[in-house]
């Protein structure tokens, strides 16, 4: 079983000091140790953005994809080799702008994997522009007079897209986030966590302090996460008080459960050296 020491890599971080990504990295490593996995069992996929460097900082299998395409890659890995425990990392612009369509469809497909969105409400890597979750009025390099459009609500979208595990964490509370990641990985189906990840360099508005004054934990308020309608109501809570924790959770057949011909098989491990198509053709005659 993996230890924190095994997960360390020799690569020096290039995230800014104080970046919310450190909280997520700590929580992810902690979760992998808590889950008692082996390094070879885990496949991480990251997209484009500061978060994309995650695969350099955790010493397990890692695949860095192109903008918005974390879910297609992660889905492919899971379908080819269900033995792998797949965790996708995406940014808010990465997932909610560029990869938005993949997001909704992954929810309803219910692939047995985990998606963690590093939601800093700005494009950090490209030095601060407005994204799909930037608040209305947010001033940035791309919206110098303030963003004119309201943000989209990824939690609500996940819920109406038939997501089976919908949660939100805060990078400023890695212990709580770690417990969410463990739950999401253990969940048989698509575990989705949106994470408030303060960008200390380019998001002057949604700071650690801004979130600390607002976030509260759903489970401490007796939220019933088996009730989708209640979860939807909670997903619209924004402003003075913002909920984190598990909004909704249900058990449903995963995508692979519905494919009996490949269920329980690892396609990546089937021999291809001596394939004889004739035997298949014979059965059709």
């Amino acid at each position: 079983m993996v230890t924190l020491k095994d997960l360390a890599t020799p690569i020096k971080s290039n995230w800014c000091p104080g970046c919310g990504n450190y909280g997520i990295l700590t929580a992810v490593k902690g979760a992998l140790v808590e889950l008692g996995l082996e390094r070879e069992q885990v496949a991480l996929v990251s997209g484009i953005g500061c978060h994309g460097k995650m695969v350099n900082y955790v010493n397990v299998n890692g695949f860095h994809g192109i903008h918005g395409r974390v879910l297609p890659i992660a889905t492919g890995i899971k379908l080819a080799n269900p033995e792998l425990m797949v965790i996708g990392f995406a940014g808010d612009a990465d997932q909610y702008d560029e990869g938005w369509d993949h997001f909704c469809h992954a929810m309803r497909r219910n692939i047995d994997m985990t998606l963690i969105v590093h939601d800093n409400q700005t494009l950090g890597l490209t030095t601060g522009q407005t994204t799909a979750t930037s608040l209305q009025g947010f001033k940035s390099k791309s919206t110098p007079f303030g963003s004119v459009t309201p943000p989209l609500n990824p939690i609500a979208h996940a819920l109406v897209s038939n997501g089976t595990f919908v949660a939100r964490g805060f990078a400023g509370d890695p212990r709580h986030l770690q417990s969410l990641i463990v739950e999401a990985v253990r969940h048989r189906g698509f575990g989705y966590i949106d994470v408030f990840q303060p960008c200390v360099t380019f998001n002057y508005l949604n700071t650690y302090q801004w979130f600390r004054e607002r976030v509260y934990k759903l489970d401490e308020q007796g939220h019933d996460y088996t009730d989708r309608q209640k979860a939807l109501e909670k997903s619209f809570e924004w402003g003075e008080r913002i909920p984190i924790g598990i909004f909704y959770k249900e058990e449903r057949l995963t995508y692979l459960d519905t494919l009996p011909h490949i269920k329980g098989k690892s396609l990546a491990k089937l021999p291809v050296e001596n394939v004889n198509v004739v035997t298949i053709i014979e059965t059709m005659k």
């Binding site: 299998n61 080799n81 033995e83 990546a268 004889n276 053709i281």
Partner: protein, 223 residues
């Protein structure tokens, strides 16, 4: 080396019935693939710098091996690298793979081109890809009409089979490049590797495939 198979609309939209044939003689060689457990000393290196440029390949979930596919440039472990020396090493590694492939094609006598018709001809059609069917049909019609033509199918465009193409083109009076594009990219390759031009090009870029009759008419036009 990963292989991506590109095909074309003509092939994809074609339907043909064939007799069932034995496929067991076709072997899929997966190359330097680590099966079972990784036995090496030290951490597995997906991009290990080797003599041939080819690194031993492991699939994710291979016991003892961590696989990373990462960034525009990387070190031997697959970690992102911005070290200029590493960039040079990795570019050279990729070049070595092509040289190794060219050598292996030669040694294993793998067909990189295929010549249809007589060795010596008045006209040689040079082409690649899905144009093969109509060109072979056109050769029959040209022969019927008394035209001595042959067809050089280029199977490997990269590494370009320089010697083979040179030999065939030296044996013909007219090299006619047939392609489904506007700029005749194959002519550009021939110019790059053989330092000569194609004598004629027959190009079609209207989204429709060549027909044998069309090719026969065009070949006769340039003879």
């Amino acid at each position: 080396m990963p292989v991506i198979v590109l095909t074309d609309k003509y092939l994809v939209e074609s339907q043909v019935s064939i007799e069932s044939f034995e496929t067991s003689r076709m072997k899929i060689e997966r190359g330097n693939l680590i099966t079972g457990q990784y036995q090496g000393t030290g951490e597995y290196m997906k991009y290990e710098l080797t003599e041939t440029g080819v690194s031993p390949r492991a699939l994710p979930s291979t016991k003892g091996a961590i696989i990373r596919a990462n960034a525009d440039e990387y070190d031997e472990f697959g970690f992102t690298s911005e070290d200029p020396m590493m960039t040079v090493s990795m570019i050279q590694k990729r070049q070595k793979k092509l040289a190794f492939l060219a050598k292996e094609l030669e040694e294993k006598k793998i067909e990189t081109t295929k010549l249809y018709g007589p060795e010596k001809a008045t006209a040689t059609i040079v082409s690649w890809g899905g144009t093969k069917g109509p060109i072979r049909e056109a050769l029959k019609l040209l022969k019927r009409d008394g035209v001595v033509a042959n067809y050089l199918q280029i199977i490997y465009l990269h590494p370009f089979p320089v010697e083979r193409v040179k030999k065939v083109l030296n044996n013909t009076s007219k090299a006619i490049v047939v392609e489904h594009n506007r700029t005749s990219q194959l002519s550009s390759l021939i110019r790059e590797y053989l330092l000569r031009d194609a004598d004629y090009t027959i190009l079609k870029y209207d989204g429709r495939p060549f027909s044998p009759a069309y090719l026969v008419a065009k070949v006769k036009e340039v003879l």
